[in-house]
């Protein structure tokens, strides 16, 4: 009885009594969700263009951030380090395409998925071997102090992160819709065979997509890295991006953003208002459960392409 009250009555009473606090939690959740979306975006790009569920995205985030900070520790200014890091991520994409993807063309999805886990192991070891495992500070000048608007406390950092994520999505949208390469990418995403038959070079497209995912990973790495410090644990945020991914659909860029907002807001509200009924720390599995509930109604995620099967 007590438990039922804690689940069905108390949270609503508390929301009703402190509406401002609820709004604060909601906004905090939405902003955190945008940061999850940043990581999820990298997954979506690669899945869309090559059908690979790239588990190495987390490792790529870590690797990009480590490289950036490592270069800055050598005394390079931010812009130079950024350019070199972008170069390294592109190089990484080329190597992955050549060494891993090309020999595995036409293999089953699960094999490619496993191969990306192999890449994860390699990158984790490689990045740490070169740059060390210490915590590294990353300061690119994003303000961190909280501000209060009409009694609602918001962290400036979160707003900045959301703005950057929004700009990134817009850039990607322009890139996909307006450029030649972008159109080719969409063609490949729709149908590999048809794209190849009209003369779109699949290998080049894959290398480009992995490069773009690497750069998205770098942006995610910069934001998460300045929030947490650059260290090994950064690779684990991939796990927070997965529910976003299934909720939004593996193949949709807007899905990653909307999914991030729903997951972020959902898990924070659940943790704050319902957490104590369950003993706390529920946000990890709650995100997955929330995604699962959506999936039962839409098995391809909110914005995913409809799965059509023929016998």
């Amino acid at each position: 009885m007590e438990f039922l009250q804690a689940v069905f009555v108390d949270p609503f009473v508390s929301i009703y009594e402190y509406p401002l606090f609820f709004i604060e939690v909601l906004i905090g959740g939405l902003l955190t969700g945008v940061m999850y979306s940043l990581v999820a975006l990298g997954f979506v790009l690669i899945f869309k263009a090559s059908g690979v569920f790239n588990f190495a995205q987390g490792a790529m985030v870590l690797f990009a951030a480590l490289t950036l900070v490592g270069l800055m520790e050598y005394g390079l200014p931010l812009w130079a380090a950024l350019i070199i890091t972008v170069g390294i991520m592109v190089l990484l994409a080329l190597v992955i395409e050549r060494v891993v993807l090309r020999p595995l063309v036409n293999q089953e999805h699960i094999i490619l998925f496993m191969a990306t886990i192999g890449i994860t192991f390699f990158l984790d070891g490689f990045g740490q071997m070169i740059w060390g495992s210490d915590v590294k500070l990353l300061d690119v000048g994003i303000p961190q102090d909280p501000i209060e608007i009409k009694g609602v406390l918001i962290n400036k950092f979160d707003i900045w992160a959301a703005v950057i994520a929004g700009m990134l999505v817009m850039l990607l949208a322009v890139f996909f819709q307006r450029t030649r390469v972008g159109r080719a990418l969409r063609a490949v995403a729709d149908d590999h065979q048809a794209a190849m038959s009209v003369g779109i070079p699949l290998k080049t497209i894959w290398a480009i997509v992995w490069s773009v995912a690497g750069i998205v990973g770098l942006v995610a790495g910069i934001i998460w890295g300045s929030k947490l410090g650059v260290q090994f644990s950064l690779a684990l945020i991939a796990l927070k991006a997965l529910p976003v991914l299934i909720l939004g659909g593996f193949t949709s860029v807007p899905g990653a953003i909307i999914g991030g907002l729903i997951i972020g807001a959902g898990e924070k509200v659940a943790e704050v208002f319902w957490g104590s009924a369950f003993g706390g720390a529920i946000e990890d599995w709650f995100a997955y459960m929330l995604a699962l509930v959506f999936l039962v109604f839409r098995p391809q995620g909110l914005f995913g392409e409809k799965i059509i099967e023929r016998v």
């Binding site: 915590v135 961190q144 410090g229 644990s233 990890d284």
Partner: protein
């Protein structure tokens, strides 16, 4: 290609077969073997590295400056556990028989690994030295003859923190009605202080609420919104580890919680926790059982005999950081236990069973600490047969933005609360395992 693979597989099998043979043969004659479980990799590597360096550098110092202990050289072998329980077990099994007399003592450096090793080590007669972590009830030497928890434990520390808070509030009687929150790593480690804090809540009448943070603790916004904007406690205690600590400090600052009312466990009070949080961490406090900084004679010796000789285990910038010093403290306890045991069993490599005796009869007096160049570094400790914790006092240190400063004297734990809890819990363990406690 197939052929090649088969032969590679064959070669691999043969190679594995050789592993044991060499592992056993690697034993160096006439040196005391000290295994060192470290984690220089994995999610907690930033904290593991300075600790491991401290452990290695101090033992190196003894070898370089004194030629070992009483003329017996010390050999150290590191094994990387990555803070992972099964790798820890593998390390233990791999190293336990190394050296002419087997491993001296294991410091698992992880509460989870400690739990996994207690039974094995007791059966193998090798002491487990879990300094300021692990199983608190193992302080009862009657039930856990092979486990040592000095100089202090989580439960003692929890009482000392409440004592400190009481003092700050103007007396423990003022605690009544105050709100104290605990933010903890949702694992065996983080849960350790909860029973103690709940018991003290009954005793002093403060309102206790606890907040679990799931591993690894990258996201704590919800937790801190709840603490800082809704509950608004008077004090927050934290049992965190790794990235969780700096994230917590940042989020606490983000909701405007005052840092000087935020106290971490000693594992949450290191440079690795406050530096990533930046300016926000200024004023943050934590428990400690040894000093920070590199101003002690032992550091000068390490610098002279180890670092300047090019034999440092790691980056010189770690010298004197909190975790480095903790590594040094760990080695001091182990080597002094070996020295104590040598007084009884002779100056030769000793077995784990003999070193256990050394641990149990260890008496690190102030005079002895001064001889070791550790005057004021930590509190004197005396271990006894039934009490493997020693006296257990704790200091509170504060981060001023540049370094950790001690802000209190030694705060004795509430022994009248902790000791009966330890004995009850140990007795329950003994009953479950069918152990008959020793007579002390």
């Amino acid at each position: 290609m197939q052929h090649k693979l088969t032969s590679t597989a064959l070669a691999a099998v043969i190679a594995v077969g050789g592993v044991m043979a060499t592992a056993l043969a690697a034993a160096q004659d006439n040196a005391q073997f000290i295994p060192s479980m470290v984690y220089r990799t994995g999610p907690y590597a930033p904290n593991g590295i300075p600790f491991a360096d401290g452990v290695a550098d101090y033992i190196n110092l003894l070898n370089e400056r004194d030629g070992g202990i009483n003329g017996v050289k010390l050999t150290v072998e590191e094994c990387d556990t990555a803070y992972n329980n099964d790798r820890g077990v593998e390390c233990y099994e791999r190293m336990k028989n190394n050296g002419p007399t087997g491993a001296a003592a294991f410091s698992p450096l992880s509460t989870g690994i400690t739990y996994a090793l207690i039974e094995r080590a007791t059966a193998d007669k090798i002491p487990i030295f879990s300094m300021g972590y692990g199983r608190t009830d193992a302080s009862d030497g009657r039930v856990f003859p092979y486990v040592f928890t000095m100089p202090t434990t989580y439960w003692s520390q929890a009482t000392a923190m409440i004592e400190y808070i009481g003092k700050e509030e103007g007396g423990t009687d003022k605690l009544k009605g105050k709100k104290i929150a605990l933010v903890y790593h949702d694992s065996a480690y983080g849960k350790e202080p909860i029973p103690t804090l709940e018991k003290l809540a009954q005793k002093f009448g403060y309102q206790f609420s606890k907040f679990a943070v799931p591993h690894p603790g990258l996201e704590q916004k919800a937790t801190w919104l709840k603490i800082g904007r809704q509950l608004r406690p008077d004090w927050v205690l934290m049992w965190g580890w790794g990235v969780m600590n700096s994230t917590a400090i940042k989020e606490a600052a983000g909701v405007g919680f005052p840092m000087d009312r935020f106290i971490g466990v000693w594992w949450s009070g290191t440079e690795q926790d406050v530096i990533p949080a930046g300016a926000a961490a200024k004023g943050y406090k934590s428990g400690a059982f040894h000093a920070a900084g590199s101003g002690f004679p032992v550091h000068a010796d390490i610098k002279k005999h180890v670092h300047d000789a090019g034999k440092a285990a790691g980056d010189a910038k770690n010298l004197g950081t909190v975790l480095y010093n903790r590594g040094v403290a760990n080695s001091v306890f182990v080597t002094e236990a070996i020295r104590t045991a040598m007084a009884k069993y002779g100056n030769k490599p000793l077995t784990g069973e003999q070193i256990r005796w050394g641990f149990e009869n260890l008496d690190l007096t102030a005079v002895r600490l001064k001889e070791l160049g550790l005057d004021g570094f930590m509190n004197p400790v005396k271990v006894s047969c039934d009490d493997h914790e020693g006296s257990g006092p704790v200091k509170i240190q504060q981060w001023d933005g540049k370094q950790w400063n001690m802000i209190t004297d030694w705060i004795p734990p509430m022994r009248d609360v902790v000791r009966p809890m330890i004995e009850d819990s140990a007795a329950a363990y003994a009953k479950e395992k069918g152990i008959t406690p020793r007579d002390c």
